[in-house]
């Protein structure tokens, strides 16, 4: 290991442009995947929340479905989608989106269940339908909590997306694998440094945004 580390210094700058492009692709996979998941989670979370959907015949199957999505890792989904839709970032986006949908909707539903009942009752008792109650009386108060969860999932997915390339689902993971296969340690060092820088940057920005919510 020390031998490898010694041979990796100094990191190579030969393919820097390409590697940065791959890193951007990784971030894009995480961003697009998380955004898709966020839209799907917003649409489905109220069906899984006990205080909004009192009907168990609707709520429980929704929960089972979301738990199944959550139970299958993005990486596993990515392997399946590489087989189904071919190599490339699209498979990665689908993998990230499906797993994150399950996780995010569950966290969204738990946040919604913790909201005080009073404002929802007040809106419902003005004669508003469920969609109106959720959109007008629930969303404004729940939004900071939900946004915080979405940002946290984005941080998590940027880390997940760095390895998706190993199975051919796009991003910088492909370069990680190539460099290792070719025993090109200076290039490997560059890849790892880029990943570290990107993950740190995203975590910092996201943490700062989350502090400003609420």
């Amino acid at each position: 290991m020390a031998n490898w580390a010694g041979r990796a210094w100094p990191p190579s700058t030969a393919d820097l442009g390409l590697l940065l492009l791959r890193a951007a692709e990784t971030f894009a996979i995480a961003l697009v995947g998380t955004t898709l998941a966020g839209i799907l989670a917003l649409a489905s979370c109220t069906l899984a929340a006990r205080n909004i959907t009192t009907n168990g015949f609707l709520r429980l199957p929704t929960r089972w479905f979301l738990n199944t999505l959550r139970g299958i890792d993005s990486f596993v989904f990515a392997i399946l989608f590489v087989a189904a839709v071919g190599l490339g970032p699209f498979a990665g986006v689908l993998g990230v989106a499906l797993h994150t949908w399950g996780s995010m909707a569950k966290l969204f539903a738990e946040t919604i269940e913790d909201m005080p009942a009073g404002p929802l009752d007040a809106a419902r008792l003005t004669g508003a339908s469920r969609v109106k109650v959720v959109s007008y009386a629930l969303v404004p108060d729940a939004l900071p909590g939900l946004s915080s969860i979405a940002l946290y999932m984005l941080e998590f997915n940027v880390r997940t997306s760095t390895v998706l390339g190993i199975v051919g689902a796009g991003g910088i993971g492909l370069e990680l694998k190539n460099s290792l296969d070719l025993l090109n340690f200076p290039r490997l060092a560059t890849v790892i440094l880029i990943i570290l820088a990107m993950v740190t940057l995203v975590d910092q920005i996201s943490a700062r945004l989350r502090r400003h919510l609420g």
């Binding site: 007040a122 003005t126 969609v131 109106k132 009386a137 404004p140």
Partner: protein, 261 residues
């Protein structure tokens, strides 16, 4: 007097699951249109249960509730929503959407009247926005229209809730302990506003209160609840010490003075 703007409660009874003693028993009364009525009683007398029955948050074991000529318990779906539109509610905890502005919360009174897409896109008709402004002005909060609800004081929040009810334009308002969370001075001024707007617009009001001086100042008529039963029903100006005793006196004689606490 049209029968479509009154309360008619007949033989109402409810026992919470797991309790032997009913929270409400054989409660019957009627409220005429435009009447302002206080429901008075100590904690645990059944005031909140009565309001929960009136708003269908609790399904009574016995008896019927008729609000503005309709029986909500027999309605569902769209018909229930239309019936609810005609009944404004005021709550002890105000129940405003905390992160919406005062104006936004008043507009919530219009939710039952607007199409879903307008609510989703927050596209309120000019007439509704104007109405919200008038209602806010009526409770003296025009200058706070753009203030977020959670930045307002308790008294201001309850005034926003009154404006919300006004914007709903219902002929009947139910208020469950509307001033129990407010200091005495604020409580008096909030109740005065509620009574005045009720008089101006001929709105029927039924409000639970637990202080006699507030109840007799506020209402035309006082209903007294004790241990889930209606024990007093008379005009506010005729309310006397005997009625007070019926509602509040402890069932066992008070200990003689001088007894160590």
């Amino acid at each position: 007097m049209s029968p479509s703007s009154s309360i008619r409660v007949a033989g109402l009874g409810y026992t919470y699951p797991g309790y032997a003693v009913p929270a409400l028993a054989e409660v019957s009364f009627e409220v005429a249109p435009g009447e302002v009525v206080a429901v008075l009683g100590p904690s645990g007398a059944g005031k909140t249960t009565l309001f929960r029955c009136l708003t269908q948050l609790v399904d009574p074991d016995e008896g019927t509730v008729e609000l503005a000529g309709r029986r909500p318990a027999e309605l569902d779906g769209r018909e229930l929503r239309l019936a609810r539109r005609e009944v404004g509610l005021i709550f002890q905890q105000f129940n405003l959407v905390r992160r919406l502005t005062a104006q936004g919360n008043v507009l919530a009174g219009r939710l039952g009247h607007l199409s879903t897409w307008r609510v989703l896109l927050r596209r309120f008709p000019a007439a509704d926005r104007e109405l919200a402004g008038v209602c806010l002005a009526r409770v003296g909060l025009s200058d706070q229209a753009d203030q977020r609800a959670d930045r307002l004081s308790g008294g201001q929040q309850q005034r926003v809730a009154i404006a919300r009810v006004l914007a709903q334009q219902s002929s009947l308002v139910l208020a469950d302990e509307p001033v129990a969370s407010l200091d005495p001075e604020t409580a008096t001024s909030v109740l005065d506003i509620l009574r005045d707007v009720a008089r101006e617009r001929d709105i029927t009001v039924l409000s639970s209160l637990h202080q006699i001086d507030l109840a007799t100042r506020f209402a035309d008529r006082v209903l007294g609840l004790r241990a889930g039963r209606l024990v007093v029903d008379k005009p506010a100006e005729a309310f006397d010490d005997t009625d007070y005793g019926l509602i509040f006196a402890s069932p066992t004689p008070a200990p003689p003075s001088g007894t160590p606490a």
